[in-house]
């Protein structure tokens, strides 16, 4: 059963934890908790986004259900995270999007935007699907300027919305303190993000159920994150080629944008598929059952984007390219649109929480974790 008021329940959980502290060397959540005597909503939001849902503390907890204290930190933190995603969402009326995600909405959105793309291309070409004039002539299907305006516009909007959420989150988590992170704070937090070392909090792989440990969750997340970053790098390099050097797509198979895109695309096939599989196998007690849709829709959009990207690469010399391109662009658009309104935001808030933790632990002189 989800807790009706995740903040009130979280306060109970952290009050018990702060009187116990047995888990203090598992992860940053507990040392950060020990710096506090009471737990306002902003404290809980910070701690929740610091939590990586590794699960160690549930199995170690002498107060875990069915104990009457009913302490399940991973689930409580997951509930508060979902609450915080909505609380920092802009514009506010779109915050309910976080609750209505599921695999189907992800697919429908992708399908809808693909249909819009097809429609747009048809309208632009007087009802006839364009036949590319040359091999891999993407801009013959959708002119470069249109593509830049569409994706640049949506992308900028998403970045702006993410930025608004991040600034609100940061303001609350910092509690009005004005000082900025140092380079070493940022380096430490970035190291935490890129290694996911808090999924090995006790020095070993985190559990997926009691007495079951495997590095797979970390590996699949690495595939996903690095896949995403490589695809982003591929697009950036391609943009550089286009704008600075005037080299137009398509680029050869051995070129940097294609190589980066292939590596990233591989990560975005393996990673999301793996995470989806692991999600089904994981002890349901560790998570918030209400967030299944949030996870699955993001996973689905990443997977579809990557899959259609691969198809585009495979068929870019064929006549079917124009159709595949439109499908791929629709999927990418769906991904872009949902970035600020879906699971993607966890990475933004967790990174910010880790930066704040680096700043806090520098000040208190304790890191608490191995």
């Amino acid at each position: 059963m989800p807790h009706a008021d995740p903040i009130a329940h979280g306060e109970h959980v952290m009050t018990v934890c702060n009187a116990c502290r047995y888990c203090e060397q598992f992860c940053p959540v507990f040392p950060a908790m020990e710096n506090r005597l009471s737990f306002a909503e902003t404290d809980l939001v910070y701690l929740a986004n610091l939590c990586h849902n590794c699960g160690e503390c549930l199995y170690a907890c002498q107060y875990a259900p069915p104990h009457e204290f009913g302490i399940n930190v991973p689930r409580s933190m997951a509930e508060i995270r979902a609450h915080s995603y909505e609380a920092y969402c802009w514009p506010t009326f779109l915050s309910s999007a976080f609750r209505h995600h599921n695999l189907l909405t992800g697919l429908v959105l992708a399908a809808g935007l693909i249909a819009v793309m097809v429609g747009a291309v048809l309208i632009a070409n007087e009802g006839v699907f364009p036949r590319p004039v040359g091999h891999g002539d993407f801009y013959g299907v959708l002119p470069h300027d249109v593509m830049v305006a569409l994706f640049g516009g949506v992308g900028l909007f998403s970045v702006a919305v993410l930025w608004i959420g991040l600034s609100r989150f940061w303001r609350d988590v910092r509690g009005g303190e004005a000082n900025s992170p140092t380079a070493s704070d940022l380096a430490r937090a970035l190291g935490d993000v890129l290694t996911l070392r808090h999924l090995q909090g006790g020095g070993v792989d985190c559990p997926s159920a009691e007495d079951q440990r495997a590095p797979l969750r970390r590996w699949f997340h690495h595939c996903t994150l690095y896949g995403f970053l490589l695809c982003f790098a591929s697009t950036s390099v391609a943009a550089l080629y286009h704008l600075v050097f005037g080299w137009l797509a398509p680029y050869p198979y051995g070129s940097l944008p294609v190589l980066l895109g292939m590596a990233g695309g591989a990560g975005l096939l393996i990673g999301p598929a793996g995470l989806l599989m692991l999600r089904g196998r994981r002890d349901p007690a560790l998570g918030d059952p209400g967030q299944r849709g949030l996870d699955e829709s993001f996973i689905a959009l990443l997977f579809i984007t990557s899959l259609t990207g691969w198809l585009l690469l495979a068929f870019r010399e064929r006549a079917v390219m124009s159709a595949v391109l439109v499908v791929h662009l629709g999927a990418v658009l769906a991904l872009f649109v949902t970035l600020p309104y879906g699971k993607f935001v966890h990475g933004i808030y967790r990174t910010a929480a880790l930066i704040n933790y680096a700043m806090e632990s520098r000040r208190t002189g304790r890191h608490g974790t191995r």
Binding site: N18, A19, C20, C23, F26, L37, A60, Q62, G202, E210
Partner: protein, 468 residues
């Protein structure tokens, strides 16, 4: 006689009790080649007895390591034990535990037990005590997982209700599970069922009606059934049935299993009064970690077994946070009303205390010079006027951690019977025999050291006997 299943189960070693000592015995016996069954009275979720509430093991060591700082010699550990336990302690057994503790962490790690790094310990015990990463439940999870891997049979929700002994030897245990009795035969048995502190009837026999107001900090499954069966069968006892480890816990704590979080650490920062709003003991007698274990019995001797810790705003953030919020008020009178204490009397007590306080330089980390003069009882350190609202009050009850009465054992962990002869195939380990080494008093992590060392000895002895 209880009805017995037709089907009888035969093992080499039956370990009765699935806490730390029981699992150490089971793992040791299994590694020695014995077929082992563990009989645990709790359901799986609550397995591990009081070990699930523990956190560390006191450990002799020669030099700094990944787990412990500096060194802690055999003599220092033994003298720490004897100082609290008194002259009746069996020093030979105490030395056995202390020497054995040195090898425990390495042995424990073989079964997947993880330890904290000593750099950030909260209890200033980093030199003497190795802390389990995640605490005692994580420790027990590791042991149970190892037991499963090694092929040890574990039955949960199963209480030993009778023993079959012949010629001073163990033959079988009658175990009740799911309303049915089954007979578990074994070549040897390890008794590791802890103390009797959750047996409310037994507590009432000793403490009278006062027992009704005791809170049991640990597992509700330590009923002492096996201890009683063995004593009735002629085993020699050690320790005094009245001796127990009891601290002051929040009166709002659950009756059982509240564990570590219900204790209150703010007593030395203010005053403690009984239900008549009278002080009754020096709250600043010594450092809190050295004195907190006397407060359970101090509260138990007050009328209705209740007391109240009263502090003011100056105490904020100076002790471990409490799990239940204090009653808070802007005047002593109002606080008294909230705590259901006589308001005038509490005001008078606080006034008298405040007048007796001699200003000094407050320092909770040393035995400072803040004390009262001319008040009985005096508060000899950390006495500051209670004059800064908000005032906070916590209700206190005696919280029993464990009892000391146990079975007398020899250095092979064999239970000593009435005639002075050890029962050849009956061993005991853990809290059920800890009274041989710790008759009273308390030092942190000693119980886990006794349980681990004697668990291993008992497992070895039981396996050896069963192999014959």
């Amino acid at each position: 006689m209880p009805s017995v299943d037709d089907q009888q189960e035969i093992y080499d070693v039956a370990v009765l009790g699935g806490g730390n000592a029981g699992l150490c015995a089971a793992l040791t016996a299994r590694e020695a080649g014995a077929r082992v069954i563990v009989v645990e009275s709790a359901p799986r979720h609550f397995r591990g007895g009081n070990s699930r509430h523990t956190r560390n093991l006191r450990c002799m060591h020669a030099g700094p390591s990944q787990l412990l700082t500096d060194s802690y010699s055999e003599d220092e550990f033994v003298s720490d034990l004897l100082r609290v336990s008194g002259p009746e302690t069996d020093e030979a057994l105490a030395r056995l535990v202390v020497r054995g503790s040195a090898g425990c962490p390495e042995w424990m790690r073989r079964f997947g037990v993880r330890f904290q790094s000593p750099l950030h310990g909260t209890l200033h015990l980093a030199r003497t005590n190795a802390f389990f990463l995640g605490g005692g439940k994580a420790l027990m999870n590791s042991y149970y997982a190892a037991a499963e891997r090694l092929g040890i049979r574990v039955v949960y929700d199963a209480e030993v209700v009778a023993l079959e002994l012949a010629d001073g030897q163990f033959r079988a245990a009658i175990v009740r599970a799911n309303g049915r009795d089954r007979t578990i035969r074994a070549g040897a048995a390890v008794m590791a069922t802890g103390g009797f502190e959750s047996n409310l009837d037994w507590l009432r026999e000793i403490w009278g009606d006062a027992a009704a107001n005791f809170i049991i900090r640990g597992t509700p499954y330590n009923k002492g059934t096996l201890l009683k069966l063995m004593l009735d069968a002629g085993a020699q006892s050690v320790g005094d049935a009245r001796e127990c480890h009891a601290v002051a816990v929040d009166a709002r704590a659950p009756k059982f299993d509240g564990g570590i979080v219900t204790r209150l650490d703010c007593l030395s920062l203010g005053i403690v009064v009984n239900k008549h709003a009278e002080r009754f003991y020096d709250e600043g007698e010594d450092f809190w970690p050295k004195r907190y274990a006397i407060w359970g019995m101090l509260v138990a001797r007050q009328p209705d077994q209740i007391a109240f810790s009263i502090v003011d705003a100056k105490a904020a953030g100076q002790s471990m946070p409490s799990v239940f919020p204090p009653k808070a008020a802007n005047s002593i009178r109002e606080l008294a009303t909230q705590l259901e204490l006589p308001p005038e009397k509490l005001e008078a007590t606080v006034d008298a205390f405040n007048r007796a306080v001699r200003q000094g330089s407050f320092n909770h980390a040393v035995l400072d010079d803040c004390r009262t003069v001319g008040m009985l009882p005096e508060k000899t350190h950390w006495a500051r006027r209670i004059d800064t609202p908000p005032y906070w009050g916590y209700p206190l009850r005696p919280g029993i951690t464990f009892t000391y009465l146990g079975l007398k054992v020899n250095e092979r962990a064999q239970v000593v019977m009435a005639g002075g002869e050890p029962a050849p195939n009956i061993c005991a380990a853990g809290e059920i025999m800890a009274g041989n080494i710790l008759r009273k008093g308390y030092i942190a992590g000693a119980g886990m050291a006794i349980g681990t060392v004697f668990g291993r000895i008992a497992g070895e002895e039981a396996a050896r006997h069963a192999a014959r």
